[in-house]
């Protein structure tokens, strides 16, 4: 489908990349339909662009790419509602907030986005009891210096 993005311009996205949030997102309850647009083939970051509002865009991080030990439990009722099961595990993303200093960017680990790609359904799931923060630093040691390709090896 053709979508409009204030940041990326007009662009064609595959229907496979568009997911529905039946409950919207906290603060944006009326916004249901979003497209995932990856930054690049090897990047864990994606744009999450509203298909209805060109100005509404999040940047999201595939959580386990940066926080491999992240854990949480999903309520049975939510799992049933969104169609998650052992055979159809959700992919987990975190919404990223980027202050003026890029290296200070944070991920919201209290309210992950859980995506059921089979049915293209998603939810922003709020963890009630959690040790995580809504502002978890993504790069506590600063931004990675070199691209990830083979030429980046310096040791």
């Amino acid at each position: 489908m053709l979508i409009q993005s204030a940041r990326l311009g007009e662009m064609e996205v595959s229907d496979e990349a568009v997911v529905q949030f039946p409950n919207g997102l906290p603060g944006f309850r009326e916004m249901r339909s979003f497209a995932f647009i990856p930054f690049g083939p090897d990047s864990p970051f994606s744009y999450l662009q509203s298909t209805a509002d060109a100005d509404l865009m999040f940047i999201v991080l595939e959580t386990f790419a940066v926080f491999p030990d992240y854990t949480f439990e999903v309520d049975d009722a939510v799992a049933a509602e969104l169609g998650f099961s052992l055979d159809n595990a959700p992919q987990t993303f975190s919404i990223v907030t980027i202050p003026d200093q890029l290296d200070q960017m944070t991920a919201n680990l209290v309210a992950p986005l859980l995506v059921n790609w089979r049915d293209r359904l998603a939810v922003q799931y709020v963890l009630e009891q959690t040790k995580y923060s809504v502002k978890q630093r993504i790069f506590p040691n600063g931004l990675p210096k070199e691209p990830t390709d083979e030429t980046g090896k310096g040791r």
């Binding site: 930054f39 090897d42 990047s43 970051f45 999040f58 009722a77 919404i95 919201n108 709020v126 990675p144």
Partner: protein, 79 residues
């Protein structure tokens, strides 16, 4: 806003499906029991507000920044 006075054990019924019961009052704290269908999401207000604020801040933080560096961030392996 509707304000109701209730005693311990008394209930409020909302929309034929949500029942809020005053379970306990101790000092400045009130313990509420809430029965609602699964699809009704219930959060403590301050937690919900924190997520709303973070979502809004995230949207507002994006425009016009050069984010090319994010194209080539390596993924970490589980240790």
């Amino acid at each position: 806003m509707l304000a109701l006075t209730r005693k311990i054990g008394e209930r409020i019924v909302i929309d034929n499906q949500i029942v809020v019961t005053v379970v306990e009052i101790r000092g400045e704290s009130v313990r509420l029991g809430i029965e609602a269908p699964n699809e009704i999401k219930i959060y403590r207000g301050e937690l919900y507000d924190a997520i709303v604020n973070e979502n809004r801040e995230a949207v507002a933080s994006n425009p016009a920044k050069d984010l090319n560096v994010l194209k080539t961030i390596p993924k970490k392996k589980k240790e």
